[in-house]
Amino acid sequence: MTKVALIGLDGMTFHLLKPLVEQGYLPFFKKVLENGVASKLRSTENPVTPAAWVSMYTGQDPQTHGVYDFMHPVEREKYPALRFTDSRAIRSKTVWELASEQGKKSVSLNFFGMAPPRQVNGFVLGGFVPWKHLRMNTFPEEYYQVLKDHLGRDFKLLGMDISEEKKIVSGLPVSAFGGWVEHHTERNSVLTESSLKLVDDFNPDIFSVVYDGPDKIQHIFWRYLDPDYLNEFSSKEDQKIREMCIQHYIALDKDIERLTERLGADWDLIFASDHGFGPTVEVVYMNQILNRLGLLEWSETSEEGKQGGLAPEKLKDHMAMINWDKTKFYAPTPSGNALYLTPHYRHTVKDGSPEYQDLIDGLVEELEGVTDEHGEVVFSDIVMNWDRYYSKPCQMTAPDIIVKLRDGGFISVLKSKTEVLQRELPEGTHRPDGIFIGYGPSFKEGIELEGSLPITCVTPLMLALGDMEIPGGLTSDVPYQVLADEAARAKNVRINEEIDAMAAEVSDDHDQSHMDKDVLMEQLKTLGYVN
């Protein structure tokens, strides 16, 4: 019986992976690319970690599972509150739950959204969990001690250490960058050690892990890694930083090779990233644009952001910077690229009504006309929520509009004197095209597909490879084009319309929205989302 592993590589892109392979740094990835099937993997409309990973492991799009961002607005009478997105916000079942229902054993390690852990036949420990809270976010909880004893002092690296990560954005000298790379290289190694132990102890049918080091490295060091910037950043110091980063990928290559050797040759391996990566060269102050359009009013106490730099500490109160009585639309977070109607205004304009449609049409037209000082348009695309536009069922967390910036970056939600500001140096940000590599007995060999696979195809593919039934109504079909001919015939994919792919609703109505929001804003700032 075929076993399936999903090895997640947060933020990995072929734009970086292929040159590193060609230069001989990554022998394991060279092997899987030469002997497997590769394709771009198209991320969610806004290619951000929560929406993308949840889409990958539920097989459904954000319109269905309801996750769009690290935080989601919750409507209050007059003003919105922000709430942290965790497993309770995910409306769909995960691939590990679907597998459990069919008697299969699963391991899920370090995926965003899996805390608090969903109960499966196997093991779950989510990502973005501070090390101090690992125990209560481990399922089964008693296994936490086993893992802790196995890892020794390194167990803390399984969790997120915010105080460590804060250091990098508080102005460390270049000479201290090494600590950041080293931290994430060691963390990848601990994820590997944990994976080996979990494979041995649980003997899973489905094994899944996310290595998030690439994303953490690329957000900060992209200009040193991107082949397109090699001439621009070519000083000895720049080259040293690049070499230091490359060591991270070399170590990752070895880590994953160790893991796959332990799994064995009979496993089908899926390597996938939640999004790609690229440079961002400017900051777009979204709420400032809405202010000029007369759709958002700043409060009297609001202050302007420090231009070109990190947000001031007052950012914690950024929702307090808005005068809600006089605001129609707002952008709540810097990672969602999303615009929402304010709650009090939504109550007066019914979804799908002519008034709502006029309002949205008018805003889209205004945004299409937003230009920089040279008259160039700022938004490459403006995506409307057609469900809401036509009054179809719609998740409460869904934005009214998602904007795409011309440089692929994320918006700023701060007040500013300018609407578009050039960055002093290019930084790393997300791109829609991530990676997919299938390697193992069921996959084609030595093929690179044209075009992209949808990120939602991973769940039905995993279920099919594991000889499981697939619920009807998932967003994508099994991507048969990646399967070897014989395997495609043998798999005899079974769709079962009776399987309910939606999760039981769990109340997350604890009144901690302000506290969650503040903590998460610190995390986003650390990860470079906040400008």
Binding site: M136, K316, Q512
Partner: protein, 91 residues
């Protein structure tokens, strides 16, 4: 009721901090969450969630206890937290 809440809060803190490598510390009403037990903002969020869970999610406005003018207050003592919960539970 005070004794029950006190035991519940201390049990939750002990549960939460069991892996934190704290020096031999005996959590009691005089323990300062920040200075003595090393609580940071994320830990306070988790503490509140756990207390709410144990109490059956009564919607106690912990924000008014732990946040003032947008900033975390971490010099809260366990006894003060107990008194706060008791007062809000009664009302």
């Amino acid at each position: 009721m005070v004794n029950q809440i006190e035991k519940l809060v201390i049990d939750v803190i002990n549960e939460l901090t069991q892996d934190w490598d704290l020096e031999d510390i005996n959590i009691n009403v005089d323990t300062a969450l920040g200075a003595d037990a090393g609580f940071e903002s994320l830990d306070i969020v988790q503490l509140v969630v756990l207390i709410e869970k144990k109490l059956g999610n009564p919607g106690i406005p912990f924000e008014s206890m732990f946040m003032q003018e947008g900033k975390y207050i971490d010099d809260v003592k366990v006894g003060e937290l107990v008194t706060f919960i008791v007062s809000k539970t009664k009302s």
